[in-house]
C-alpha cells in the first residue's frame, strides 16, 4: 500500500527537470514556425498564393512526391522483403547501402545521381541512347531524386516489421491451403499494416520536402523541376512575401497530412 501510494504521487508530480528540458525541446520546433507566421503577409496572401509560381510548384511537388511514394511501394517493399526474409551474404552491406541516403547530405546524393544518371553518367549515357530519356532537368529527374532520398524510410520500416512478424502465422495459413498471394494479402500485409502506413507517410513527407538532391540533379525550372522547396529557396532571395507564403503552404500541407493520417491510421501504432 505504502509503495503504491508513493508511486502514485510520483506519477502525479512529473519531474521538473524533464519537463523543463522537454519544453526546451518543444520550443526548438515551435519558435521557428512562430517566426514564420509572424512574417506572413496575410492581406496579400490570396494574391501571392494564386500566382503561377506557387501553383506550379505546389502541383509539381504533389505529383512528384506521390510518384516517388508509388515507386517506393513497387520496388521498396520487395527490397524490404528480400532484406528481411532472404538469407544472403552481404546483407549487412545492403542494409547499410539502403540507410545511406538517410545519412548523406542530399546534395551528395544529387551529385551521385548526376554522375550515374546524367547524360554523361555511368548509366545515364546508355539510358539516353536506348530510350531517349534524359533525367536531369526533367520532371522524371525530380521523381528519381525524391525516390532516392525518401525510399529508405519505407524500406527500413517495412523490413523491421517483417522481421518482427511471427512467421508461424504465414506458415499456418499456407498449411491450410492459402496460396502465396493470399498469404501476402490476408496475413502478411494486414499484420505489418501500421508500419507500412507509417513508412509510406514518412516517405511521402520526405519526398515532399526534398530540396538538395533535386536542385543538384534535376535543376530548377518553374513548371518542370521547381518544387515548393526550390521555389522557397529562390524566392527567399528576391521576393520575401512569396517565400513566406510558399513556406506557409508547405507547413500547412505537411501538417494537415501528418495530423490527418495520424488520426485515421496511426492510432494502431
Amino acid at each position: 500500500m505504502k509503495a503504491d501510494g508513493s508511486l502514485g504521487q510520483r506519477t502525479r508530480r512529473p519531474p521538473v527537470l524533464l519537463v523543463v528540458l522537454g519544453s526546451i525541446g518543444l520550443a526548438m520546433f515551435v519558435v521557428p514556425f512562430v517566426g514564420l507566421l509572424a512574417r506572413v503577409p496575410w492581406s496579400d496572401l490570396p494574391a501571392v498564393l494564386a500566382s503561377d509560381v506557387v501553383t506550379d510548384a505546389l502541383r509539381l511537388s504533389m505529383v512528384t512526391s506521390l510518384m516517388a511514394t508509388a515507386i517506393a511501394v513497387v520496388v521498396g517493399i520487395p527490397l524490404a522483403w528480400m532484406m528481411a526474409r532472404l538469407d544472403f551474404r552481404g546483407r549487412p552491406l545492403v542494409r547499410g547501402l539502403v540507410t545511406l541516403p538517410l545519412v548523406l547530405p542530399p546534395v551528395v546524393g544529387g551529385a551521385a545521381l548526376l554522375f550515374a544518371l546524367g547524360r554523361r553518367g555511368l548509366v545515364g549515357e546508355s539510358l539516353e541512347q536506348a530510350t531517349g530519356l534524359l533525367l536531369p532537368f526533367s520532371t522524371w529527374g525530380v521523381v528519381v531524386a525524391n525516390t532516392f532520398v525518401a525510399m529508405p524510410f519505407l524500406v527500413i520500416t517495412v523490413e523491421g516489421a517483417l522481421r518482427n512478424l511471427d512467421q508461424r502465422y504465414e506458415g499456418a495459413a499456407a498449411s491450410l491451403g492459402a496460396s502465396r498471394w493470399t498469404v501476402l494479402r490476408r496475413v502478411t500485409l494486414p499484420m505489418i499494416g501500421p508500419s507500412l502506413v507509417a513508412g509510406l507517410v514518412l516517405t511521402w513527407a520526405r519526398a515532399f520536402g526534398e530540396f538538395g538532391a533535386t536542385i543538384t540533379f534535376a535543376g530548377n525550372l518553374q513548371g518542370r523541376t521547381q518544387t515548393l522547396p526550390l521555389a522557397v529557396f529562390v524566392a527567399l532571395e528576391s521576393d520575401r512575401d512569396t517565400a513566406v507564403a510558399l513556406s506557409l503552404v508547405m507547413v500547412v500541407v505537411s501538417l494537415a497530412v501528418l495530423v490527418g493520417l495520424r488520426e485515421r491510421w496511426w492510432k494502431a501504432l
Binding site: F115, G118, T216, G219, L221, V234
Partner: protein, 249 residues
C-alpha cells in the same frame, strides 16, 4: 551544474577581456563573399593569413542575393563583397554597412561550354535552340541578371532548362557536361579551365559586373574588417584578383 555555471561565467569574462583588449587585429574574420569570388578570395585568404598569422579568415560564399538576405536578417559578418551594386545598395539602405562601399574589381561575362563544345555553340544566338540544354543563374542572382541583360541586348529569347542558385552550381553542371551552355563570368571559366571552355561575348552585348566591398555595421571584429578591405584594395590584393581574371576598377 555549479562548475558548469562557473565555466560559463569564466568564458564570458574572458570574452569580455579579449574584446576590450584594444585595437590589435586578430581573431576570426567573417567575410561574406559572392560565389564568383570563391577562388580569388581563397587565394587572398592564404596570402592574408601568411602576413597575419593571428588571423583566421572565414569565407562565407554564396550568391550575393543570399548573402544580402543573411546580413539583413542579422547573421553576423564582418565584410560583405557583392557581385553587383544592387545587393550592396540594399544592405547600405538598411544601415547595415559602416562607411562606404568601394568597387574593388570588375568582371565580364563569357559563354561557358563543356570541353570540346559538343553542342557546337558559337554565340548567344544558340541559347534559343530548344534542343540544347541551357542553364543560367537564377534571375535574382547577379550572374543571372547580367546574363539576361546580355541576352536581351543580343535580342535572344533563351530556351532555359534550369535556373541555378549561384554561378558555381551552374558551372558544375556545365563541367559535368550535363548542360550544353551557360553564361558565367570570365573568372569562372578561367578557374575551371580544362573542364570548361569559354566563348567571348562581343563587347556591345557584354555587361561589366562591378564588385563592391564594405565593412558591416554589425561586424563582430570591426578592426579586422577594415584591415581586410584595405588589403583587398591594396596593390597586392589587386594583383591577386587580377591573377584570377578579375580587372581592377
Amino acid at each position: 551544474m555549479n562548475s558548469a555555471a562557473r565555466l560559463l561565467v569564466a568564458t564570458f569574462v574572458l570574452g569580455a577581456v579579449t574584446a576590450c583588449s584594444g585595437s590589435s587585429v586578430e581573431g576570426e574574420l567573417l567575410v561574406s563573399a559572392a560565389a564568383s569570388l570563391t577562388d580569388a578570395f581563397a587565394g587572398m585568404e592564404s596570402a592574408f593569413e601568411d602576413a597575419n598569422p593571428d588571423f583566421d579568415v572565414v569565407l562565407n560564399l554564396g550568391s550575393s542575393s543570399a548573402l544580402r538576405e543573411q546580413i539583413l536578417e542579422g547573421a553576423p559578418a564582418d565584410v560583405f563583397a557583392s557581385a553587383n551594386s544592387s545587393n550592396m545598395d540594399q544592405v547600405a539602405e538598411a544601415g547595415e554597412i559602416s562607411g562606404e562601399a568601394k568597387i574593388f574589381a570588375t568582371n565580364s561575362l563569357q559563354i561557358a561550354v563543356p570541353t570540346g563544345n559538343p553542342a557546337e555553340v558559337t554565340s548567344l544566338e544558340d541559347f534559343a535552340r530548344e534542343e540544347l540544354l541551357i542553364g543560367l543563374c537564377a534571375e535574382d542572382v547577379p550572374c543571372g541578371d547580367l546574363g539576361r541583360q546580355a541576352l536581351a541586348k543580343a535580342g535572344v529569347i533563351p530556351s532555359i532548362d534550369t535556373n541555378e542558385p549561384d554561378v558555381r552550381a551552374l558551372l558544375t553542371k556545365i563541367e559535368a557536361g550535363e548542360l550544353d551552355a551557360g553564361i558565367t563570368y570570365v573568372t569562372d571559366v578561367l578557374s575551371a579551365s580544362g573542364s570548361v571552355e569559354g566563348l567571348e561575348i562581343p563587347v556591345e552585348m557584354n555587361i561589366v559586373a562591378e564588385y563592391p566591398i564594405a565593412t558591416l555595421a554589425g561586424a563582430p571584429n570591426p578592426d579586422a574588417a577594415v584591415v581586410w578591405v584595405e588589403f583587398v584594395l591594396s596593390e597586392k590584393g589587386q594583383a591577386i584578383l587580377t591573377s584570377y581574371g578579375f580587372r581592377s576598377p
